[in-house]
C-alpha cells in the first residue's frame, strides 16, 4: 500500500495522465469552439474515428506522419461541413444530428478499415521527444517533458484557444453568436458563417484528436478505437465551463483518475473495474450541476437560428 505513494509511482501516474489527456484536449477544445457559437456537436466520437483511421492509413501507406495529420484534419473538416449543413443550414435538432454523425463515422471508419486494411497492424507513430535541459530535471522532466509531439501540441492548444476565443475578433464573434445570435445578426455578423467556421474548426480538432490516438498513443487502428472517448470530451466542455483552462483541468482530472486506477491494479490493490469506470461519469454529472451554476452557458446553445424569429 505504501508503494502507492512512492515517488516512482506518482511520477508514473502523472506521466500517464498527461499522455492520456491528449485526445480529450484536442476534442474538447474543438467542441468548445462549436458550442461557444451555439452548436452542440455530439458527433465528435464519429469524427475522431474517421480521423484516427485516415491518419493511420496514410501513415501505413506513406510513412509520412505529417501527411497523416493533414489528412485527418481534412476529413475532420469534411465531417464538420456535413454537421454544419445539417445543423446550421437545415437547422436540424443538434442532439439527434450528432448521434447520426456518430453512427455514420463509426460505420464509415470500420468499413474503410475492413476494405482497405483488413487486419490489425501497427505503425511507427510519433516518437517521444525529450526536451533538452527541461527533460533532464528529475521527476518533473519525466512527467512533463518526455512526450511525443501531439502531446505537447494538445497542451499548447489550450493557451492558443484561450487567446483566440478571448482576444481576437473572430473569437468574440463566435461568442456573440452563441450568446445572442439575433443581436449579432443585427450588427451585421453572419450567424451561419460563424457557426460553420466554429463547427468546422472543432471538427478539424476532433479529426486531430483521432489522429493523436492512432499515431501517437496506440499506434494502430481497430474498429471503434475511441470506445466512446468523444462523448466524454463533449461532457468535459461543460465541466470546463466553455473555457480552455477549465477543460484542461477536467481532462487532467479524468485522465488522472484512469491512470491512478490502472496503477492501483498493477500494484495489486483490488478495486472493481465497473466502479472505476463509472466514477468519471458520476463526477462529470456532479460537475455539470456546479458548472451550470458557476458559469453562464452560451445562451443560444442548441438553438438553431432563423432570421426574423425571436
Amino acid at each position: 500500500m505504501n508503494e502507492l505513494f512512492s515517488l516512482a509511482v506518482i511520477t508514473g501516474i502523472l506521466t500517464s495522465a498527461i499522455r492520456l489527456a491528449t485526445p480529450y484536449l484536442f476534442a474538447a477544445v474543438g467542441e468548445a469552439f462549436a458550442q461557444s457559437s451555439g452548436v452542440v456537436n455530439l458527433g465528435v466520437d464519429g469524427i475522431m474515428l474517421v480521423g484516427a483511421f485516415v491518419a493511420f492509413y496514410v501513415t501505413l501507406q506513406t510513412g509520412n506522419l505529417w501527411l497523416a495529420v493533414l489528412a485527418a484534419a481534412l476529413v475532420g473538416l469534411l465531417m464538420g461541413l456535413l454537421m454544419s449543413l445539417i445543423s446550421v443550414t437545415l437547422k436540424a435538432e443538434q442532439g439527434i444530428s450528432g448521434i447520426g454523425l456518430y453512427m455514420f463515422g463509426l460505420g464509415l471508419s470500420s468499413l474503410l478499415f475492413k476494405l482497405l486494411v483488413g487486419t490489425v497492424q501497427t505503425i511507427d507513430g510519433f516518437k517521444v521527444i525529450k526536451i533538452p535541459l527541461l527533460g533532464d530535471i528529475p521527476m518533473i522532466g519525466e512527467i512533463f517533458f518526455q512526450h511525443s509531439l501531439p502531446v505537447y501540441a494538445a497542451f499548447l492548444l489550450v493557451p492558443v484557444a484561450w487567446w483566440f476565443l478571448e482576444k481576437t475578433t473572430w473569437g468574440l464573434k463566435i461568442k456573440a453568436v452563441g450568446q445572442n445570435p439575433a443581436a449579432a445578426d443585427s450588427l451585421g455578423v453572419s450567424v451561419d458563417k460563424v457557426r460553420y467556421f466554429s463547427v468546422c474548426l472543432g471538427s478539424v480538432l476532433a479529426g486531430l484528436a483521432g489522429a493523436s490516438l492512432s499515431t501517437a498513443l496506440v499506434n494502430l487502428f481497430q474498429e471503434n478505437l475511441t470506445a466512446g472517448l468523444g462523448f466524454i470530451a463533449v461532457a468535459l466542455v461543460y465541466f470546463g465551463g466553455w473555457k480552455p483552462a477549465g477543460i484542461l483541468v477536467g481532462a487532467l482530472l479524468f485522465s488522472t483518475v484512469n491512470a491512478f486506477q490502472l496503477w492501483m491494479q498493477v500494484l495489486g490493490v483490488n478495486i472493481s473495474s465497473d466502479v472505476a469506470v463509472m466514477l468519471p461519469y458520476l463526477l462529470t454529472i456532479a460537475a455539470l450541476v456546479f458548472a451550470t451554476n458557476r458559469v453562464r452557458q452560451p445562451a443560444a446553445l442548441n438553438k438553431p437560428f432563423e432570421r426574423g424569429e425571436n
Binding site: 499522455r19 501497427t122 496506440v218 481497430q222 491512470a259 472505476a276
Partner: protein
C-alpha cells in the same frame, strides 16, 4: 410547390440509378448440388486478431481443403456483440436451411438452446462452453486456454530479467480468466519469486485503455507482457513502442503486430473440430458431443515466432512443458 418537384426529380433519378446499377451486374451462378452450408455468428470482427478471427480463419481453411466454394459455403455475421441480434441471426440461418450454424460466443448459449429445439435437423455448434443442453443436434466446444497459458508462462519466466511480468486482461471471465490462471501457474512452476501483476480494463474493446495499462506495467518494471481479448492489440503496440518488452499471444497468432517482440502465441485451431463435425453430420450424427481444444489433440498450438531468437534451453523448457501437458504429467488447473 417547387420543392416538391425537386424531390420528385431526386426520386426519379434514384430509381433510374438503381435500375442502371442492377443491369450492370451479371447473374451469379447457381451453387452446385452437394454443398455443405455453414454459417457462423461472431461477437467481434473477422479481423480481430483474436477470438472471432480464429474461428473464421479455421472455416476458410477447411473450405479451401474441401475444394473451395463449390464444396462448402460460408456465411458470417460479425460484430454480433448484441445477443438479441445474434439470436435473430442464428434463427435466420437455421430457417434458411444451413446445415451447420456456429454460434461463436459463450453469451449465445441461451439462444442456441431455444433455437436448436425448433430446428432439429440443423447442427448447432457453440462455445466456448461444455453444455450441449442434452440436445442431439448441439455441439459444444471449448478451449483449454490454460494449457497454452502454462507454456507461455514457462517461457515468460525464463525470459524475464526484471522478475516482473504484466498481464492485461479485459474482464475476469471465460477464457481470458483461464488463460491467465494457466499463465500464472506456468510462471510459478519456473520461479515462484517472479511477480505477475494483472490489470482488468473492464472492456473487451477499449484499445486505448489497454495500451495505457500495458504502458503502466512497463513503467512499473515489467519486461514481459501477455493478455487476452481483441483489445490486446493495444498492449502489443505499447510493447512495440517500447522496443524491449516481450509479448506472448493467445487465441490467434499475433506475430505480425510486433515481429521482433512476440515470442510465441497460443493459437486456437478449430479446423480439426470443424472437419469432424462435417464428417459426423454426413454420417448421420447431428450433435451431442463436446469438443475441447487441447495441446494433446492439436487443437491448441504454440506457434513460435521464427524471427525471434529464442535460446535453445528456453525452447527446450517450453517443449518439455508441452510434452508434459500432452502426456498428462503436468496438470494445469482451469
Amino acid at each position: 410547390m417547387k420543392k416538391h418537384n425537386v424531390w420528385m426529380a431526386i426520386c426519379a433519378l434514384l430509381v433510374a440509378a438503381l435500375v442502371l446499377t442492377a443491369c450492370g451486374q451479371a447473374a451469379t451462378p447457381a451453387p452446385a448440388a452437394k454443398v455443405v452450408r455453414v454459417a457462423v455468428v461472431m461477437p467481434s470482427s473477422t479481423t480481430d486478431m483474436a477470438f472471432s478471427q480464429s474461428m473464421y480463419s479455421a472455416l476458410v481453411a477447411v473450405q479451401k481443403e474441401m475444394g473451395g466454394e463449390a464444396a462448402m459455403e460460408i456465411k458470417y455475421s460479425e460484430n454480433m456483440f448484441k445477443v438479441p441480434d445474434a439470436a435473430a441471426a442464428i434463427r435466420d440461418y437455421a430457417s434458411q436451411g444451413f446445415d451447420i450454424v456456429v454460434a461463436h460466443g459463450s453469451q449465445y448459449g441461451a439462444s442456441v438452446e431455444e433455437i436448436a429445439k425448433d430446428f432439429p435437423g440443423t447442427t448447432f455448434a457453440w462455445g466456448t462452453d461444455v453444455n450441449t443442453f442434452g440436445l442431439p443436434n448441439v455441439y459444444a466446444y471449448t478451449a483449454a486456454a490454460q494449457e497454452g497459458g502454462y507454456v507461455n508462462g514457462v517461457l515468460a519466466a525464463k525470459l524475464t530479467t526484471s522478475k516482473q511480468i504484466g498481464v492485461t486482461g479485459p474482464v475476469e471471465v471465460g477464457d481470458a480468466k483461464t488463460y491467465i490462471d494457466g499463465f500464472v501457474q506456468g510462471v510459478a512452476s519456473v520461479d515462484p519469486s517472479i511477480t505477475v501483476n494483472k490489470t482488468w480494463t473492464g472492456s473487451f474493446s477499449d484499445v486505448a485503455l489497454m495500451t495505457e495499462a500495458a504502458k503502466t506495467h512497463i513503467a512499473a518494471g515489467a519486461d514481459v507482457l501477455t493478455g487476452s481479448s481483441q483489445s490486446v492489440v493495444g498492449s502489443i503496440g505499447a510493447a512495440k513502442e517500447n522496443g524491449k518488452v516481450l509479448w506472448f499471444g493467445t487465441q490467434s497468432e499475433q506475430t505480425t503486430l510486433a515481429p521482433e517482440l512476440v515470442v510465441a502465441s497460443q493459437v486456437y485451431d478449430w479446423t480439426a473440430m470443424i472437419k469432424e463435425i462435417i464428417a459426423s453430420r454426413a454420417a448421420g450424427t447431428l450433435g451431442g458431443k463436446t469438443y475441447t481444444l487441447q495441446l494433446s489433440n492439436d487443437g491448441l498450438k504454440i506457434v513460435f515466432n521464427a524471427g525471434y531468437n529464442l535460446p535453445a534451453d528456453v525452447k527446450a523448457a517450453a517443449d518439455a512443458a508441452i510434452e508434459g501437458i500432452k502426456g498428462g504429467k503436468i496438470t494445469v488447473n482451469p
